[in-house]
């Protein structure tokens, strides 16, 4: 098992694995998203309180969950890169940042559109929305810091440290609805105990979540290949890699 782990530190190996995974990830994602959309939009019955507006959940919740997951992946990859000096970690972090930022934006916009009919407002300064907005600023900060350095290696390390410092916001976003009186509804899926949602509503949500996650995986693989090429431009393996 450990040999596999060591292989993950090797840029050409990771490049090859990433390239191979992309079509599979996209294929399964398409299936999951297809089922999720059909079941969520057409098959699941309207909600007792929210009517058909609740269907916005099927894009809002996966976006929000992904925005947190991607940040955590970015912070973990950064920690691996800083502690064990594994450069692939920096490439994963750099590849993940724009993806995570886009999901955060999606969560904020879809949430805003959902909030207008449900709460009567496009925005509220409540703990969850505020901390999610801060998450977006943190993503932008990490990307800006990385690009501000002339020496890319130093930029990677600085951005890695900032990503790790900012990870403290992730549990704040998640637990904000528990710790404070929030306008936003509490946890219904990612919590201890059984999810408090009927099956016909829950399965499409899980499918959409998995679909979004697989899209992240595919996009990460694509971006990761580019990041590895950029970082290893002079290496021998690059010559073979770009021929294919």
């Amino acid at each position: 098992m450990w040999t596999w782990f060591y292989k993950l530190a090797s840029p050409p190996y990771v490049y090859g694995v990433a390239a191979a995974f992309v079509p599979w990830l996209l294929g399964v994602a398409a299936v999951a998203l297809g089922y999720g959309l059909v079941a969520g939009l057409a098959i699941a019955p309207p909600d007792y309180q929210q009517g058909d507006a609740f269907r916005m959940m099927y894009v809002h919740v996966p976006s929000a969950l992904l925005s947190l997951t991607v940040y955590t992946v970015m912070a973990a990859a950064s920690a691996v890169a800083l502690i064990w000096r594994i450069k692939v970690g920096h490439a994963v972090a750099a590849a993940s940042a724009p993806i995570g930022a886009s999901f955060t934006l999606a969560a904020l916009v879809t949430g805003s559109l959902w909030g207008r009919p449900m709460w009567g407002t496009y925005w509220a300064w409540d703990p969850r929305l505020t901390s999610e907005l801060i998450l977006l600023f943190l993503y932008v900060g990490v990307m800006s810091l990385r690009s501000a350095f002339e020496d890319p290696a130093r930029g990677d390390r600085a951005a890695a440290l900032l990503a790790i410092v900012g990870v403290v916001n992730v549990p704040i976003v998640h637990f904000s609805v528990v710790w404070w009186n929030s306008l936003h509804q509490g946890a219904t899926v990612v919590k201890l105990g059984a999810p408090s949602m009927p099956g016909s509503m829950l399965w499409p949500l899980l499918a959409m979540w998995i679909g979004f996650m697989l899209v992240y995986g595919a996009v990460l693989c694509l971006r990761l290949q580019g990041e590895l090429l950029n970082r290893e431009r002079q290496a021998v393996w690059v010559r073979e890699a770009i021929k294919s």
Binding site: T110, R223, I242
Partner: protein, 56 residues
């Protein structure tokens, strides 16, 4: 697909833009990633060509 589906119980003005934005984000991600990979390949090719000593 009945009119009921498209009107989303009256919430169509919120639901469909919502899904459209989410689709746009997913689409941008895929498009942008492919673009940056293609650009990285071009740059790597150029760097290799220079390193292998092609005459200026």
């Amino acid at each position: 697909m009945s009119g009921d589906f498209w009107s989303m119980g009256g919430y169509a003005g919120y639901v469909w833009p919502c899904y459209a934005f989410a689709a746009a984000v997913l689409g941008w991600n895929l498009w942008s990633a492919r673009r940056s990979l293609a650009a990285a390949r071009v740059r790597a090719g150029r760097a290799l060509a220079m390193a292998s000593g092609e005459p200026r």
